[in-house]
């Protein structure tokens, strides 16, 4: 397939209480093989997916938060997190885990994949897509 489309994965749900966050990540990983232009959006309770220090030992469920750090290897490098959603939840950028990628166009320099954006910027990102998948 030669056509390249802009795919946006919208994550608005918290992890573990329901399976949507995990199954969204499964789609992203499979989708990476299709060489499309992929962006991930985290807003509302979706910002909780990226908090650091997640330890699921006490609930007997698999901790999938490390998988976000592997996204760079799949060339998924655009993760946008909404500032207002963080603030409403008492969170700041430093409460999120670091997700980085190595930029092959810049001598493999390590760069952050997570970008904090305003609600207005998030709306612009959403309006610039071909396919929007919601989880």
């Amino acid at each position: 397939m030669s056509e390249t489309k802009k795919f946006l994965y919208v994550n608005r749900k918290a992890p573990y209480g329901t399976i949507y966050a995990l199954e969204s990540l499964e789609v992203v990983l499979i989708g990476a093989a299709f060489d499309q232009d992929v962006t991930l959006a985290f807003l509302d309770d979706g910002v909780f997916q990226l908090t650091k220090g997640q330890d699921t030992g006490g609930i007997g469920v698999k901790n999938f938060s490390p998988t976000f750090r592997a996204l760079g290897d799949y060339e998924v490098t655009k993760l946008y997190v909404e500032q207002e959603s963080l603030e409403e939840r008492g969170l700041a950028a430093e409460d999120l885990q670091a997700v980085t990628y190595e930029d092959e166009d810049d001598d493999w320099a390590e760069k952050p994949s997570i970008h904090i954006v305003s609600r207005a910027e998030m709306a612009d990102i959403m309006a610039d897509q071909d396919v929007v998948l919601s989880f």
Partner: protein
């Protein structure tokens, strides 16, 4: 003390079946009785024996079946909710003219009256759902 427990959501999709499992284990460990666990709404989906979760994930149905075997739990699956959602035991499958069944060992299909009865006969009821 006697605890009745209701599980209202399906496995993996919601955490309810996991939380209920940990709660029942803790209650039994503390010397309480859990005479019955009632699966209602999508909770009936916990009882399928055809689930094949990834190797590195917990097996929710097997956890319940094993706990039931070890502790003598009565795991009741609501028949009305199960029929809608395609959960059948061998008897039901035959009665409905279906060519397969899917209920796991340790679960039994019965009516909603078992939920009310559980409410009457236990000291506390705890519902896990969405």
């Amino acid at each position: 003390m006697k605890f009745g427990v209701v599980v209202s959501e399906g496995p993996y999709t919601h955490q309810a079946a996991d939380t209920a499992y940990h709660f029942v284990k803790a209650a039994l460990d503390k010397g309480h009785e859990v005479p019955r666990v009632f699966f209602y709404h999508d909770g009936v989906n916990v009882s399928t024996r055809l689930s094949v979760p990834p190797q590195d994930e917990r097996h929710i149905q097997k956890n319940w079946t094993e706990l039931a075997k070890k502790k003598g739990l009565d795991l009741v699956v609501c028949i009305a909710a199960a029929q809608r959602r395609g959960l059948l035991d061998a008897n039901e499958a035959q009665r409905q003219g279906k060519d397969a069944d899917n209920i796991a060992e340790g679960f039994r299909i019965s009516g909603l009256g078992q939920l009310i009865e559980m409410g009457i006969q236990t000291d506390r009821m705890v519902m896990f759902g969405d």
